[in-house]
Symmetry: C2
Subunit: 211 residues, 2 copies
DNA sequence: TAGATTGTTAATCGATTAACAATC
DNA sequence: TAGATTGTTAATCGATTAACAATC
């Protein structure tokens, strides 16, 4: 890595990827930062600055080739690789994630789902069987696991995450309503649904009626 | 509204609320910006600046009363009210949301879930029955609906959302992988799981190994 | 070539941090 | 009162936007 890319830029990359994917599906071959900025409701200047963090994928007088740009952003996002995912917690959300086919399309492969409740162990969640938490350590020791999705109660989440780090899990997709406090080199993506809802209610109360 | 609060501040409020809730449960009566900053891994200066956007809830030489501060932030976030929620799309995610008890605790009440698939209509999802999309308009006309959670396929989402706005729905919790493009006075909270996963894979590829 | 549009520098804007006077 | 800690102003830092020369 030459220079550190700001997290503001990283946060925008998946949205670029989504728009470029749709443009490609729609048969658009090339696009200028100007056109893209109108579709996405951002400034053309920001688009060019963002892409230039990675060297610039355009051509003066022409714009950007949609397929090439999408491919490059995909690589930057690591979408040219696949990732083995386990899910910890076979509650409603855990099962919904296990069943969600959209992840496989992008190379995120759910290989197992774990639960502490003996009544759930042995059931099917999507294509995978619910395994017993007792077998977590031996499972991780004998299978490649890149990402653990945490859909277990918040009280247990930090401890289980710390254990999983020791076992060699590299990254966490955290749905538990707590911070994990893991070492800096372990990426964590938090999906705090309760916080998202609070921002929504804030905007209902404070924004929507005064316009 | 006197002056516009920046969205950077708003994004942080739910996390403050979570930490204060935990402190309160743990029996902590007062806390200084210094102590809170250490727990939350932010600067004390930022904490004081953030709270002062709303007038300042502390006392010099003492700090902040945890119960009072939590209550005030709760009010700012609109958590002193309750919200009627409908869910559009009874797939895995829609059903998981319908079953998630955590929302009721904060005043978000799921009153109905809708699906276009006749095989699903009539089934139970959590405590509510799955209703037919055909009956959506009459339902919204005869019930208070503050928030629609969108867990339907992205192709249909913008159109359904626009229709719901016409029917009087005030806000959207959008899980569909698309932008809704609604009027400015309609708050939307996007939960784009695919984008969240891409940020995670970015960090796996670009951050985790070089430390 | 002329026109279009990028890549990139410079200017502006906003958010974060530091510092300290006010005050409990 | 003395000590602690906020509220708030000023300084710094970073991100966004504007502008334009480079170049396809």
């Amino acid at each position: 890595m030459e220079k550190k890319i700001s997290s503001a830029v990283i946060k925008r990359l998946p949205r670029y990827y989504r728009y470029l994917s749709e443009l490609l599906e729609g048969g658009t071959e090339r696009i200028s930062s100007q056109e893209l900025s109108q579709k996405m409701n951002v400034t053309a200047s920001q688009i060019r600055q963002d892409f230039n963090n990675f060297g610039g994928f355009g051509q003066q007088g022409y714009g950007y080739n949609v397929a090439v740009l999408r491919e490059e952003i995909g690589k930057i996002l690591g979408l040219d690789q696949s990732y083995q995912v386990i899910i910890i917690g076979a509650g409603n959300l855990g099962q919904a994630l296990a069943n969600y086919a959209g992840f496989e399309k992008r190379g995120f492969l759910v290989s197992a789902i774990f639960d502490i409740n003996p009544d759930k162990v042995g059931n099917m969640a999507g294509k995978v069987e619910v395994l017993d938490m007792k077998d977590l350590e031996s499972y991780v020791a004998s299978h490649q696991v890149d990402i653990a999705a945490l859909t277990l109660p918040k009280a247990k989440a930090p401890e289980v995450a710390a254990d999983l780090v020791k076992m060699g899990v590299r990254a966490f997709w955290n749905f538990a309503a707590t911070d994990l406090n893991l070492p800096d080199n372990i990426p964590v993506e938090n999906v705090h649904l309760a916080e998202s809802l609070m921002r929504l209610s804030y905007n209902i109360v404070n924004v929507s009626q005064d316009s």
